[in-house]
């Protein structure tokens, strides 16, 4: 599409009444008109967002009167051209590189500190000048920019999204990324094509930040994990590895394994004979996924919506946090109709890697905890057996040797606590903390943070809950418990702990349809309205 058509399209756009207005501020040292705003505007229109875009020169950020509109921005994009900002200097010694890193990190951190919008940083590239290298030969310093990007990314707060510009450029090819005519006239070196790639990535990141986290992927087996129908061709006949198609299925399994390692729960839901599928998992050497990676499976000939519904109950994961992948449009349509909250992904070996983007996780995940989570789901089968033999909850908890430990949190647990505060809904007061904000909070001596550990004879559930109390204000600021630990009276024990040790006068609580159970528990335990007030400031 060219700019004349883009302008015509914008001119003829009609918005629905339900459209949402998104305010985007772009901090830059480039003239991003005429393409960038228009592309962004059209791309966000596709998801029924009406965009208001403001540009700020990097030099204006120091003047409060020029940055007023930044305060009300929903999204702030920092898109700074490295070579223009650092004046085409040849940065060869470490001191200069470190100065650039510090300057950039301070700049980004300052923006993050003063403005509330979701921050997106487009990283640096140094392809334009291109004088540090000779084609096909490596001279000096041409990995400086990678080092600078890497260190900046590590130093800035984790809630800031970094877009890897060099990676985007590599997808187009360096030769198609620049427009020298445009650079000479308006001072923006980037081509229409690259700008549209950057815009797509910004919109994708924006959508991802808006979307509910996918916690569990439910997978069909035939023509998803391997090629062919297992019940027709048998365990040895399936297409996996060896051939081109076989390698693609294997590659998909590698992607799923990577997701598993980053905290996604994997489950199977397939119309098959359970023995056949288990045989593939146990005996086929080309399988990348093993049974230990699968938290739960429903392999039978029943309706898949019923199976997913059961999986949701057993894994205690809401529909909105589940993604279902199937190669059959028929099955996908049934799930869409019957369980509309479940995200559905139609499996096509050619497009699946692009479509799986929707399930990608952020970086701030405690990998060990994530793996522990799957183990808990697996050992839940044994717990269920004990439960069915027990006559009361107390007898059940005694027989599985349920143990709950509440202790003061230490630095190394903060990442997990931040994750818990963001992921839990049902047994949570909905106070959300980033790792950095939690650290800031702990600098106040009056803030007391506790970690809750649960274990039983079948396994260790790990750190599943946390309590945060501001002892100066007697404010119960943070309370959350993972769904995995429900049904063990842990929440009651946590409340008892708080009541026993503190005289609570305030409770932070954001009530909605998901956490009413906890609200009722609090209401029963604390003298709400008399000496304890709910706040959600």
């Amino acid at each position: 599409m060219d700019i004349v058509h883009i302008m015509e399209e914008i001119y003829n756009l009609k918005f629905t009444k339900a459209c949402v207005t998104v305010k985007i501020s772009v901090i830059t040292n480039l003239c991003l008109e005429p393409y960038f705003s228009k592309l962004l505007y059209l791309e966000l229109k596709k998801i029924d967002c009406k965009t208001k875009i403001n540009y700020f020169n990097i030099l204006d950020i120091a003047y409060p009167e020029k940055t007023e509109k930044l305060f009300s921005s929903d999204v702030i994009v920092i898109f700074v051209n490295y070579e223009q900002k650092y004046d085409f200097k040849f940065h060869s010694n470490n001191m200069v590189i470190n100065e650039i890193i510090d300057d950039s990190v301070n700049f980004i951190k300052n923006i993050e500190k003063h403005f509330a919008g979701k921050l997106i940083w487009v990283s640096y590239e140094d392809f334009y000048k291109n004088n540090e290298q000779v084609y096909g030969n490596l001279l000096t310093n041409n990995d400086n920019i990678d080092y600078i990007n890497y260190v900046i990314h590590k130093k800035i707060p984790k809630n800031i999204i970094s877009i890897n510009l060099k990676n985007l450029m590599s997808q187009i090819g360096k030769n198609y990324c620049f427009d020298y005519n445009f650079f000479c006239k308006w001072g923006n070196p980037y081509s229409f094509r690259l700008l549209s790639f950057i815009v797509n990535e910004i919109v994708y990141q924006f959508r991802k930040a808006q979307k509910t986290n996918i916690k569990c992927i439910v997978l069909d087996c035939d023509n998803v994990l391997w090629g062919g129908v297992l019940s027709d061709i048998g365990c040895s006949g399936i297409i996996l590895g060896h051939t081109y198609r076989g390698y693609l299925y294997q590659k998909f399994q590698y992607l799923l394994l990577e997701m598993y390692k980053r905290g996604i729960i994997l489950a199977l839901c397939s119309k098959n004979n359970v023995e056949d599928v288990l045989q593939v998992f146990q005996t086929n050497e080309n399988m990348i996924l093993k049974l230990e990676h699968i938290a739960e499976y429903k392999i039978n000939w029943f309706d898949k919506s019923q199976n997913i519904s059961e999986l949701s109950k057993e894994l205690k994961i809401d529909y909105k946090n589940i993604a279902f992948i199937d190669d059959s449009e028929y099955e996908i349509n049934i799930i869409r109709k019957q369980l509309p909250e479940v995200t559905t992904v139609h499996f096509d070996i050619n497009t699946i890697f692009e479509n799986m983007k929707i399930c990608h996780l952020g970086e701030n995940v405690d990998v060990e905890e994530a793996q522990l989570r799957t183990q808990t789901y697996q050992s839940n089968k044994y717990r269920k057996n004990v439960l069915s033999e027990s006559t009361s909850i107390k007898e059940y908890l005694d027989s599985i040797e349920n143990r709950c430990t509440i202790k003061k949190s230490v630095e190394s647990e903060l990442k997990r606590i931040s994750e818990l505060s963001n992921r839990t809904n049902r047994m949570s007061s909905h106070r959300r903390y980033t790792y950095e904000n939690l650290r800031k909070q702990l600098k106040h001596n009056s803030y007391k943070l506790y970690s809750v550990y649960v274990s039983d004879k079948f396994g260790d559930l790990g750190l599943v809950g946390c309590i945060g109390i501001d002892s100066n204000k007697n404010n119960l600021d943070l309370f959350c418990l993972s769904c995995r630990a429900l049904g063990r009276t842990i929440e009651q024990q946590m409340i008892e702990f708080v009541v026993h040790n503190y005289k609570i006068e305030q409770i932070f609580f954001e009530k909605d349809s998901t956490n009413f159970e906890l609200f009722n528990l609090f209401k029963n335990k604390f003298e709400i309205g008399i000496s304890v007030q709910f706040t959600n400031d």
Partner: protein, 91 residues
């Protein structure tokens, strides 16, 4: 080669103004109602430097021409008639 048509130029100018107002969110009225003659100064109907860049890029693409630095003088492109004259000269 596209012939330079005054009506097309009017429409392009309206589109540029419309997109500017939509994107800044300052005025969401229907810009097609803006009326201006061929000799009206575009700055009086809200044209700024961004609009100017936008229009030049559109003109370059639509008429497959390239504006040189000498052509890029705001005072020489600030009315519809002058724009038509400049493009016809380049063509």
């Amino acid at each position: 080669m596209n012939k330079v048509n005054l009506e097309d130029l009017h429409l392009m100018i309206i589109q540029v103004l419309h997109s500017k107002n939509m994107i800044l969110g300052e005025d969401e009225n229907n810009n097609s109602e803006i009326e201006f003659s061929d000799d009206d100064n575009l700055q009086t109907i809200g044209f700024d430097s961004f609009c100017f860049i936008q229009l030049v890029v559109m003109l370059e693409e639509k008429y497959n021409v390239e504006f040189t630095d000498e052509n890029l003088v705001l005072s020489e492109l600030n009315t519809v008639s002058k724009i038509k004259y400049t493009i016809e000269n380049i063509l």
